[in-house]
Every structure is written in C-alpha cells, then in structure tokens.
Symmetry: C2
Subunit: 334 residues, 2 copies
C-alpha cells in the first residue's frame, strides 16, 4: 500500500502537495496535479482509512450488535443495515451477543474506543429479562449514538425502529376469527422477549374482544422440543386456528396438523411471523406476517447516519419509527 510520503519522495515534492493535488486543490498547478495523479494511479494509491479516521475523528463505521445471526429475521435486518450503510459509505462491524448481557456489554465496550461512530443494536434476551440499561446509557453518554431495533429498551433515550407487533397479531387473530375459526391458539417460542409479549397481548385482545373462546397459549422455551410440544398441544386442545409468534412454530404447526390428517386450511388455519424463505418450507405455504426486516435495517441505518451527520442534533431529540407489518395470505389460511 503506497503512502503520500512515498509518492512525494518519488515526485520530489512535499507530502501535502501530493495530498492537495489529489484533492484537486486550487493551490496546486495543473501540471503538478496531473503528474501526481498519474503516479497515484500507477501505484493504485488509496488514502489510508486509519489515518483519515484519526485525523477526522470519525471512522465511517457502524457497530452492529445482534443477539443471534442464525435468526433469519435478525440476519435480514443486518442485510438491510449493511446495504443502506454501504450506500452512505459506511462499513459495518458486527458483534454477536448470543443473547448474553455480558457479551453485549463487551461488544459495546470493545467498540467504544474509537472503532465506530455509533451503534445499531437489538437488545439481548438476558438484558431484557434483567432489565439492564446502564451500559446503553454509558455509551450514549460517551457521545456514541445508539439506534435500537425490534427489541428495544424503552427507558433508554435513543432512536428506535420497531414493529407494530401488537397490531400485527391483533389483526391476524381477527382475520382468523372472521374466517369463522372458533378455537384460535397462540404458539410462541419467544415468550421471554418484549416482542413475544406484545404479540401475545395483541392476540389476547382480539380473542377477548370478539369471540367467546378464551385465549389458549403454548409457550416453548427450547427449540428442540417444538415438534413434541406442538404435537402434544394439538392432542390436548381442539384447535382450528394458530397464531405463531415465530416462524418455526408456524411451519411446524402446519406439518403437525397434516400429520394428524387435518386439511390445511380447510380444517385449520395457521398464521406465523415469517419470511418468504421460511414460509416456503411448508405445503401449503405459511400465511405470514412479514416484518419487512430489510426496511427495519435500512431505517435504523438512516436514523443513525442522520444523527452522525448532524452534529448539532440534541441527544434528547429522538425519534421512533414504526415499520408496519403486512399480512401475506398464502395457502395456510382460507
């Protein structure tokens, strides 16, 4: 990697002459500019990012802390963040908290030393359970803005991008009731997350409001048990509709129903939170609530970059964007 110094030496001019020439400064003669640029091209000179970051006190890099990269939704948000950020010339440093408070703190600490200009993150499960927010406040106090998405800490003053989870399940449940379903159950593998709770509340409200059934919920804490738990649940409950809070539960519900000889969607309807990719895994395809994960990522990136580029924005002037879900009708509902 060539440096200005080396170019300067070879051209017999000063370092800053080279720098100015490459930046098309008025102070440098045409001829010199040409000479400099030719040599720079020849050596494929690129300004050293690290030196630039040091000088300008900004890295054009965003720290992203996500709890689980294997979660399709979160991966998709990351995709959205990356794409939007790239558009503005920002890079992404990724930390995976593995749903652990400790790793989340570490990630924040590790990158809050000049490595990044700000953070986009989704709060870890453990953090939500323990309701810890000191590390977020500390980071913001250090001058590093945070944007939270999906699972957010409401008591932290920062930009947020959330999904209308409550409305989503409320409306989805309503739509099953409108189909004439009499026993709509709620199945969740994410009961301990804020969004999981919101989704259940939306379901509960719809059921209590307009039906004569009571809410029935199955909560699964370990992925491995899903198939078994759902099977038992079907055996012990008369169900003709399912609202699944996560994508796996939706797909498995359909397959379980089919296994019991039921016809989907004639005998039972299923709606789940799912991407196009996963909804394809069942036949018929899962009618799904799309969270527009890429949009969530893009919006988070926008909020952060806006703040980074408006140095005079007050820390107290925060916004929350709500990304509306869409209900994509597919084969698993009438």
């Amino acid at each position: 990697m060539v440096t200005l110094k080396q170019l300067a030496k070879e051209l017999n001019v000063s370092i800053s002459t080279v720098s100015k020439a490459l930046n098309n400064s008025e102070e440098i003669g045409e001829e010199t500019i040409k000479r400099v640029k030719e040599l720079a091209d020849l050596y494929n000179y690129k300004p050293n990012k690290v030196a630039l970051s040091l000088k300008q006190n900004k890295t054009k890099t965003i720290g992203v802390i996500i709890p689980d990269i294997l979660n399709h939704f979160l991966a998709k948000v990351l995709f959205g963040i990356e794409r939007e950020a790239a558009q503005y010339g920002y890079n992404i440093i990724t930390c995976i908290s593995n749903e652990s408070l400790e790793k989340e703190k570490d990630g924040l600490q590790l990158l809050a030393n000049g490595s990044v200009d700000g953070f986009i993150l989704c709060v870890a499960q453990e953090t939500q359970v323990k309701n810890e927010i000191a590390h977020f406040k500390k980071t913001i106090g250090q001058g590093l803005p945070i944007v939270m998405f999906d699972r957010v800490a409401h008591d932290v003053l920062c930009d947020k991008v959330i999904v209308d989870d409550f409305d989503a399940t409320y409306n989805a449940t309503k739509s099953l009731l409108l189909e004439g379903r009499k026993n709509v159950a709620f199945i969740s593998g994410i009961d301990d997350l804020s969004v999981g709770k919101l989704r259940e509340r939306g379901y509960n409200k719809a059921i209590l409001e307009s039906s004569n059934q009571l809410p029935v919920a199955l909560k699964i804490s370990k992925m491995e048990d899903s198939q078994l738990k759902i099977k038992l649940f079907f055996e012990n409950n008369k169900i003709d509709g399912v609202i699944a809070a996560d994508s796996a539960s939706g797909v498995i519900s359909i397959n379980t129903a089919i296994g019991f000889g039921l016809h989907v969607p004639k005998d039972i309807s299923v709606i789940g939170f799912s991407s196009k990719y996963i909804s394809n895994h069942s036949i018929p395809r899962l009618t799904s609530i799309r969270q527009h994960a890429k949009d969530i990522g893009a919006n988070a990136a926008q909020l952060l970059i806006r703040r980074l580029q408006n140095k005079n924005m007050s820390e107290n002037d925060v916004s929350t964007r709500i990304i509306k879900t869409s209900l994509i009708k597919s084969g698993s509902t009438l």
Copy 2:
C-alpha cells in the same frame, strides 16, 4: 472519550509517562503508576483503537465477504468466524456481495486501504461463473492475506477451508442404496456453484458404481419455483429416494411426498444438506448432512490469524483444511 493527553495534563506529567504507566513499564515508579491508573479508571480510559492501528500498522480487524447473509449455512459460518476471532481480540467487518462480482470487488477494494488486516471470504456465484480471480490476486499482492471457505477459487494461492462435498453425497447416496432404494434422485437449487457440482458428482459416482439405475437430477434455478418444480418432478418420475443439495429442497421434498400420500420414510427416503434448525421444519425431520458451519468459520479464522501473527510465513506456503461432514440420521430415512 479521554485521551492520554488529558490525563497527562491533569496529572502534570508527560503523555508518555501516562502511556508507560498504563502499560506497567519498569521505567515508571510505583507511586506514579498508581496515581495514573486511578485517574484512568476514574475516567474509564481506553486506548484509542484508531491511533493504535495507525501506530502499529495493524487493525486487529478481519474483513469478511459473504455472498448471502440470508443463507443459513453462510450465516452460521459467519457466526463461527466471529466467535473464534473475538477470542483472539479480532473484530469483524462484514461485506455482503449479494453473489455479485462487482460488489465483491468493491468490498475488497474498500477494505484494502488499511481497514483490515486480511480477508475471509466465500466466492460469489457470479465470480465463479465468470471465473474471475484477478481481484483476489491483487489483494494478496498488496500484502493482505485471504482465506477462502466453501466455494473457493482453486487457481488462487491462499489458505482454504472446504467441505468434502463429493464424499458427502457419495456416501449419502450409498446409504440410500443400501436401504434398498432403486430410484434415487438428485435435487439441487445450487447447480451453478462449485459445491453444487461437486455434490452432483458424488451422487453420480455412487449411482453409476453400484446400481442399475441411471442418475436423475432436478435442477432448480429460482427458489420461488421449488415447490412447483419438485411437485412436477415427483409426478413425472418414480422416486423412492432423494439427495438434496440444499436444505430447502430437502424439506420441500418431504412435504411434497407427504402431499402425494407417501409415507416418509417407508415409501421414500430423503437426505439433504441442512442445519439442525432447518431440519426441524419437516415432520419427520430431515436426515441431514451437517457441514459443521461453525467449525468451518472457526478454522478459517484460525488460518487467517495464524498467518497474521506469523509475519514470516511465505505467501506460497498455504494450507487447505477439509472439514468432514457428518450424516445425521433422522426421521426421513430408514
């Protein structure tokens, strides 16, 4: 963020005294070290990463370029890389090439300006199709080592981590033939990838070697068509076994078979390349070839870090690690 300068000023000592004190230098008195450390703790001083990078001419950051973060396998490899790298104090900058040669080049370019110490990447589909390798060689020529995983460019001299794809499908096919299957088909949604081709060859060899059937392959180019294509394929072919080159095809094959009233695995066996997570999406669960994605990531990270920390390693002295797959028997085979 406090700097050495500010601490030095407040303590009335020179900047480097503070620096040395914090680094436990022998040259600084105990008392001074204590004073310095106390103030540093008070202000939660952390050395500025950017200045350090500039000084030491290394960033402790790895550039990872992957074609698709929504691919569960690739996401899992990323997870493995991140975890291993974190152990050694390395951060990960992620670029998503979206299977595009152009974006892959850009990512390499953009980060080869001092942002990272080296790269871990999986070659984009377009790059494989066009068989372009100049950009890889250029990057390595600039002194930035590359480690390739899964899909690799054989003509580039660098460390590699690959899967024994050929053996995997060869053995999987054999195992179906041993079950007594007479019509084993190969279904692939990744026909244009090097690994897709390898997997088909493994299947072909096993079929030609030990059976009196001929190879039968279904190649799907668009994900959206999977369900339809597989359905048609089942209608037009007598099949009692499926080797799926990707996870979606495996799951969909099972569901399609069930849709046709077949019993899995009594009437038909299915084996696919899949993670535990995805194999859970069908009932019965998909018997799968596990690629140990996390191990692949960890190995790639190890290879790169080893090279970064051994400055005297020759560019020509490269190694290739083969990560053996495992066949995890589950409900979709006898």
